[in-house]
């Protein structure tokens, strides 16, 4: 009896809602052109807080995207997740009749750093302002970081394995890895990703305690990783959902395989211990390459974590060199998040989406607002760089000490 072929995890759909575009197409166009949309924070209640600059999603109308009965019971981060899941499923050409025909074959995995801060704040104000009888019952589920997984599965009628990854910002990549494992274990489709909505008063106040947060008030100077002017990171909202599907299932239904989730690993080196993150990140890259059976020289682009804190930037540049050897100083590195901000768990998801789109379009998007690199990296700045991208490496670290690496292969590559 022959061994069954391993089930490869393919990406067949992408849905993005980002500060620079509330659809995958607008996100990619602005990302490729290196347009920075970092801007003064003007969300109600946030205007006078010390956080001056953020990446805000401005052209998303939740009521046009989501049914009212789901809107009243969910926070903005779940609105993003439900809408991005719709985009991804449309992109994968998986309609309601398709998933209704096999509801146990479709599951959901999300990651979130903080959950529904805006919804939670509103209900807590009711609690302390008017009393416990004025707190709505949906508070019990809406501010929970797991809300998006539940609401996507309920709204779309999915009954397959569902889960939530709570692993710091790098958990966004871990959610994709978890989806890939679920697919290898036998589930046909996992809708996987991360969205965040941290630009609300309570959430912003929570972030003010992070030493790594940039409070610079000039949008073009607030987030400049890998330069001597690095002064921390700018937060962002939005995110991305991907359809992760068994290769064979996708091909059988004639779906377009855009990429493969080829390898992943995660390590932990402690909160804000950026010097140690060098070793942790390098180790995550080595293990991800090993799982992907990928030589360092095969990496065509690195999407950097790009925290914007000098010690963290140095650690990342050294980690890339440690893990990729001489190739580490030659491979193009990019950080499109400098134009949209850093969306916590959603940040590596937007990078993964951009990586898949970079493969498809043969172009590496640039790193907005960043010039005069002070590390030994070939950072793509200014304008997009044409390149054949067959394999991409996406890096992510969390403020609490997680490090993750994901290797993506182009969908046209033959099964190895």
């Amino acid at each position: 009896m022959s061994e069954p072929l391993p089930r490869r995890a393919a990406v067949t759909g992408i849905g993005v809602i980002a500060p620079n575009g509330a659809s995958t197409e607008t996100f990619w166009k602005a990302t490729r052109e290196g347009i920075s949309v970092l801007d003064r924070v003007d969300r109600e209640g946030c205007e006078d807080l010390p956080l001056r600059v953020a990446g805000q999603v401005r052209d998303f109308d939740p009521s046009a995207a989501i049914e009212e009965r789901f809107l009243v019971q969910t926070d903005r981060f779940t609105h993003f997740a439900m809408a991005a899941a719709d985009f991804a499923l449309d992109d994968a050409q998986l309609g309601r009749p398709d998933t209704d025909a096999a509801p146990y074959s479709v599951g959901v995995v999300t990651a979130a750093g903080s959950g529904g801060g805006e919804f939670g704040q509103r209900e807590l104000q009711q609690l302390w302002g008017k009393g416990s009888r004025y707190v709505g019952p949906y508070q019990s589920i809406a501010w929970f970081y797991a809300a998006s997984t539940g609401q996507i599965s309920i709204r779309r009628g999915f009954k397959g394995p569902c889960s939530v990854v709570a692993a710091d910002e790098a958990g966004g990549l871990d959610a994709l890895a978890h989806a890939a494992r679920a697919v290898r274990r036998g589930t046909d489709v996992i809708v996987a990703g991360a969205t965040e909505a941290p630009i609300a008063p309570y959430s912003v106040v929570c972030q003010l305690g992070y030493d790594e947060l940039s409070t610079v008030d000039e949008p073009s100077r607030a987030y400049r990783p890998f330069t001597s002017a690095a002064c921390g990171f700018v937060p962002a909202e939005g995110g991305a959902m991907l359809v992760v599907e068994a290769d064979a299932t996708a091909r059988a239904r004639g779906a377009r395989v855009q990429a493969y989730l080829a390898g992943h690993a995660a390590t932990f080196t402690g909160a804000s211990r950026w010097e140690e993150s060098r070793e942790g990140l390098a180790q995550a890259v080595r293990q991800a390459l090993e799982e992907a059976e990928c030589a360092p020289e095969e990496i065509d682009v690195v999407f950097a974590d790009a925290l914007g804190v000098p010690a963290a930037d140095r650690a990342e540049a050294l980690a890339i060199a440690d893990a990729l050897g001489a190739h580490g100083t030659r491979v193009p590195v990019t950080a499109p998040k400098t134009g949209i901000g850093r969306g916590y768990c959603a940040a590596p998801l937007m990078d993964a989406a951009a990586a898949v789109l970079a493969m498809e379009h043969g172009v590496i998007p640039p790193t907005p607002n960043v010039f005069d690199i002070c590390h030994d990296l070939d950072l793509v700045t200014g304008r997009a760089r044409p390149a054949e991208v067959r394999t991409a490496l996406v890096l992510s670290r969390g403020l609490m000490g997680s490090n993750s690496a994901l290797v993506l292969r182009h969908g046209a590559t033959d099964a190895s």
């Binding site: 009212e68 009965r69 789901f70 809107l71 009243v72 019971q73 009888r133 709505g136 019952p137």
Partner: protein, 84 residues
């Protein structure tokens, strides 16, 4: 304020608390269940809580287990009547 909860008020609460838009006439005409209308158990709990705040009196414990708007109105209105 009337001491009876009308279909109009229930329709308004269904929209406010559960995000479900349904015309009062529809509630009068057709006794569709809350599940078919899209009101889940937390939504119904929210409706009960809102009524308790408005009327300043507890609703019967079974109110939040009602299967349909008609059953719900019968239950809460008879409770309001005996409570008055």
């Amino acid at each position: 304020m009337t001491d009876r909860i009308t279909v109009e008020e229930l329709a308004e609460l269904m929209k406010k608390s559960a995000g479900v838009t349904v015309a009062p006439e529809e509630l009068r005409r057709d006794d569709a269940g809350f599940d078919r209308l899209g009101v889940d158990s937390l939504g119904l709990l929210g409706i009960v809580g809102e009524l308790e705040n408005r009327y300043g009196t507890p609703m019967p414990p079974d109110a939040e287990r009602s299967k349909s708007p008609r059953q719900f109105l019968d239950l809460v209105n008879s409770a309001l009547l005996t409570g008055a």
